[in-house]
Amino acid sequence: MNWQLLPQFAVTGILAGGPLALIALGLVLIFKASYIFNFAQGQLLLLGALFTWWLSIGIGLNLWLSILLAVVIMSLVGFAIERLALRPMTGQPLLSIILMTLGLSQALQGLALLVFGGAQRNFPQIFSAEDPYIIATPLVHEGNPINLILKQNLVWSFVVAIVGVVIIGGFFQYTRTGLAMRATSEDHELAQSAGLRIRRIFGISWGLAGVVATVGGVLLATSSGLDLSLSLIVLAAFPAVLLGGLDSIPGTIVGGLMIGLSQGLVKVSKVAVVRNSAEIMPYVVLMIVLLIRPEGLFGQKRIERI
């Protein structure tokens, strides 16, 4: 362990976990409403960022306007995916549904490459990458005071992501539509018999997932540039979802931050192999979660009957 760097990497890891939490939220939204785990979320993220780039750089609109338009387009894409690809899957076994989202992810990835090309793009900077915040801490290591150096874009991405999760969480908790969505996630047939239009609710949850994905995609692209590998970042969010609990919105924050923290902590090590394990850390955590507490920290445990 390199104690001098520990606080720095721990805080950076947690901050990097913010966007993970937002991505995880997109997954949880869909899972809660329809019991579908969306393996194509990464491609939604990618498309959201690509549309924003195309509107702002390609067409030359104002950046904020293009983000807004991209959000609208992506919510429509979300609706369309639900209507065209996943509604025919209602009542099909789990494997078919998993494969549908996997097939969708492949098709969207190919489509993105076909239409937009595979070049690395400069994404407009929303938050300044210059003069990082320097925070003095009371910690002292071998006579050297420890200061935290935090990049502005990292901090603000974190803030936006967490605010986004809180807003969506509030929407779920306090609005009529949110209540309807929670009721639907409880029991499809019961919700339907109480007069809820569950198809519309599935559509809304996919639309919302598209919105969340766009915001997440823009946050990631603005801090690390935009190319087609952006969709792979979501692979680190899958473990975050399972850690927090598949059907828990507060769980996404905790899961995302803990995955980020775990990645930050191994980077402190002085052993090269441990440092390099940052990329698979989410999946090591995932295996531990599956073996110890498969329902996650905040998820509901389901009891099975024959």
Partner: protein
């Protein structure tokens, strides 16, 4: 699925009842088909031979996945990771220790099987979607291991070059020769898969797939059979990975990646889950579609000149993804089911109702 026998055909002995190939004309057809495949290098072009070779190797991996996912119902997105294990083991044994290829192939199969057992362990505690995530973990942890561990042997992300297999003084150094190896092993794996699926083991697998709680109450040990399914699937992946590595003559951590795992699952669904024929149909059709994507690239380059460089990388997932989605919506039981319907309709002709 009830077995439909043609009118007028009766079982006079148990052996006849159990036989897979029942009539002389079926033997004749099978032998003709195999003869056509074995003589392929004599009359087909090099590219077709190497395509058939690739299809054969994919079929082996899909057969293993079919035992695990199709028969036992445990969804795995980690089959390609076990191919990586098999590929590396056989490559290192042949290259560094100078083992003969058949011994290395067996070792690769067993080694992949053991690693498969390891990642199958969570199946005792979790199932369905959660288990899928555990196999996804294999898909990340195993390639990472080959990149980071023992750099002096595994050579990190560069990967290792693999020697050409030599048997009976023959170097299998071109597709025209390699195809004999692939086809022979494919015949063995098909026979094994077919017999596993109709034995006690296969029935236990199906019982677990259809209702695991009920199967356990009836005395089917979930622990034993789930792990056996994982072991078998990984053994098949090991064989397939070893064959592929020796045919490509190079392997690294990206040779078999997450997308390959997804494609293997897709092949299974396109062919038909839980049928031995399905693995063969699915792998063939999907490989052909992916080949079609490669061949149609020049046409798409005219439509999207901006993407000219990455056209093949764009078209392959695009074609595969849409094929998979269309099959899931319109033909969820796969081509094997369509083939059964066709056979039944043929037998009942002209009274098809």
């Amino acid at each position: 699925m009830a077995i439909q026998r043609p009118a007028g055909e009766f079982d006079y002995s148990y052996a006849y009842d159990m036989s897979t190939i029942r009539q002389r004309w079926q033997w004749a057809l099978l032998l003709l088909f195999l003869a056509a495949l074995y003589t392929l290098p004599l009359y087909a072009s090099q590219s077709i031979v190497s395509l058939v070779n690739r299809i054969g190797i994919s079929i082996i991996a899909v057969q293993g996945l079919n035992l695990l996912t199709g028969y036992t119902g445990q969804i795995s997105i980690g089959q390609a990771a076990f191919m990586t294990v098999g590929g590396y083991i056989s490559a290192l044994l042949v290259n560094s220790l100078g083992w003969p290829f058949p011994a290395a192939l067996l070792a690769a199969a067993l080694g992949a099987g053991v690693i498969g057992l390891l990642f199958g362990l969570p199946s005792l505690r979790v199932k369905g979607f959660y288990l899928t995530m555990a196999t996804l973990a294999a898909q990340f942890i195993i390639p990472w291991f080959t990149r980071q561990a023992f750099p002096e042997v595994l050579n990190g992300a560069q990967g290792v070059n693999v020697n050409v297999p030599v048997m009976f003084g023959v170097e299998f150094n071109e597709p025209g020769k390699y195809i004999y190896l692939t086809l022979t092993i494919l015949i063995v794996t098909t026979t094994v898969a077919h017999n596993v699926s109709r034995s006690r083991l296969g029935r236990a697998f199906v019982a677990i797939r259809d209702n695991d709680l009920a199967a356990e109450l009836l005395g089917v040990s979930l622990f034993k059979y789930k792990l056996q399914a994982f072991f078998l699937a990984a053994v098949y992946a090991g064989v397939s990975g070893s064959l592929m590595a020796h045919s490509l003559r190079h392997i690294n951590s990206e040779t078999f990646n997450l997308v390959d795992s997804v494609i293997l699952l897709g092949m299974l669904v396109v062919g038909g889950l839980g049928t031995n024929l399905g693995a063969i149909f699915g792998a063939t059709v999907v490989e052909l579609i992916i080949e079609g994507a490669t061949l149609s690239a020049p046409f798409f380059v005219k439509l999207f000149p901006a993407t000219a460089a990455g056209m093949i990388q764009a078209l392959r997932p695009l074609f595969f993804g849409f094929t998979l989605m269309l099959f899931l919506i319109f033909e969820p039981r796969g081509l094997a089911h369509r083939w059964q319907l066709f056979k039944a309709a043929w037998r009942l002709r002209p009274f098809s109702h």
